[in-house]
Symmetry: C2
Subunit: 281 residues, 2 copies
């Protein structure tokens, strides 16, 4: 009989759970109007398909008029928000409250005339949205400490925020380099705990099991990271998108199975994986 | 023939030069009134003696009345300042402007309800003065990262200032640890450039020589720090107050001699040390 240890914080984070729940509620309420999410609500095809079945379409751009528009957890650029409002849409705000807090920080730093450093990935929608609130243009996005090493930032006041999914290590490295400047700093550690907790718990479980199954999109940065961290502890780590990818021979002589999943993996996918493995002799 | 490499920025810093100059000027102006400095104007007996010759006494406590009182570069506790004013003294403010800036930072952080972390040595007069401005009691003094390691500081808003003579390394280590908290931070890098430049230049010289002589008061925090940093690079580092402490056997087989000095060491003391070492066979 195989034993399963599932990482407690595996799967959807608070912000995504909240957004999906809100979307499903909206689908019931506005069943006579076109409903859109601006971009996929989450990087998971199954969830997006489920929402489509309930009548929620994914809009590819912001040219939406006279509709219901759900803003996903990542947030949205300021000018896009204004455009959607102007075009007579009903806006449903499913932006993660932790992300919204970053927008508030940026507004405060802008008001107090700080030069803004956003620690994050320039092309990520969350960062694009955050940047849009620094609409005085006084900001840079830094993803890696090497980008600012030995560069003097000649600003009297430097404000720092981080994309919610940044690693603490990267955040501290970049702050460290910036703090060498003789400036006034206002720093908001806006990293979301759920990512680091999930990583930490995954490492703990990997230490206790014979095989580790990491479930999530192959393009999901946070799932890939979980697989890397697990692999450092346990060679027998497998990153899969769903139960179809499971191979029986992986489980030969493996008694204890660890299960974890990225932030975009719904519970039912995790359940299917466990069910499939239970069936393996 | 021995070679000497003297650290360019060795000796008096801007703030101390300014305070001594001001004291001498005051001695001329108020030659009919008792004149005191509150504590020695700098940690150097020779300089204090020179001032004594000009009629400037060192007061051991703040019970001074109807006199001229020179506040030294380190600054002074808020209540002491108030007491001196009340007791009909003429107060001559020779506090280093960089130290005064820290007092302003503390006032700002207090007003905006930040919990204050002062990075510095608890017993140092500069830090005692800085702390006195946090008269709401919401502060701690941290001299070493180990004092706060793995301790949660449960404050929503954390403000950080540093004693002017702290090393950048210590400042960054402590900031790094604090930044792990999910708080809002307001950080002022108040380390005085003259200190870090002197430290950096001392490290560079220590790498090039066979023996390092660090000149300055044994109780001078910044001199002690120079000696520590130098010792990390070069075991043969000696911290002396003046040329009388030099021992000939230190210099056996040492060709290149590095010389550095703390912020309170006057040039003529450095010159005497070099002269003495030149005389050693």
């Amino acid at each position: 009989m195989r034993e399963f240890i599932k990482v407690k914080s595996a799967g959807f984070c608070f912000g995504v759970k909240r957004a999906v729940k809100l979307a499903l509620k909206i689908a019931e309420k506005y069943n006579n109007k076109p409903i859109y999410t601006l971009g996929p609500i989450i990087h998971n095809k199954d969830v997006v398909d489920e929402l489509k079945n309930k009548g929620i379409q994914v809009a590819e751009n912001s040219d939406i008029k006279n509709s219901v528009v759900i803003l996903r957890s990542h947030g949205v650029e300021k000018n896009v928000f204004e455009k959607l409002e102007k075009n007579n849409n009903i806006i449903i705000d499913a932006i993660c409250p932790f992300v919204k807090k970053i927008h508030d920080c940026v507004n405060l730093l802008k008001k107090e005339d700080f030069f803004l450093v956003i620690i994050g990935d320039k092309e990520h929608p969350e960062v694009r949205a955050i940047s849009s609130y620094a609409d005085n243009g006084k900001y840079i996005v830094v993803s890696n400490v090497d980008e600012i090493k030995n560069k003097k930032l000649n600003y009297k006041k430097i404000g720092i925020v981080a994309q919610t999914t940044q690693s603490l290590e990267n955040f501290l490295n970049i702050c460290n380099e910036l703090l060498k400047n003789k400036s006034e700093f206002r720093i908001f550690n806006t990293i979301c705990d759920s990512t680091s907790i999930r990583q930490q718990e995954t490492i703990e479980v990997a230490k206790k099991v014979d095989i580790m199954i990491v479930i999530g999109g192959k393009h999901s940065a946070n799932t890939t990271r979980l697989a890397q961290l697990s692999k450092k502890i346990l060679k027998d780590t497998y990153h899969i998108e769903n139960e179809k990818e499971i191979e029986e021979n992986w489980f030969k002589n493996k008694k204890k199975v660890g299960i974890t999943a990225g932030a975009s993996t719904p519970d039912y996918v995790i359940e299917k994986v466990i069910k499939k493995i239970r069936g393996i002799k």
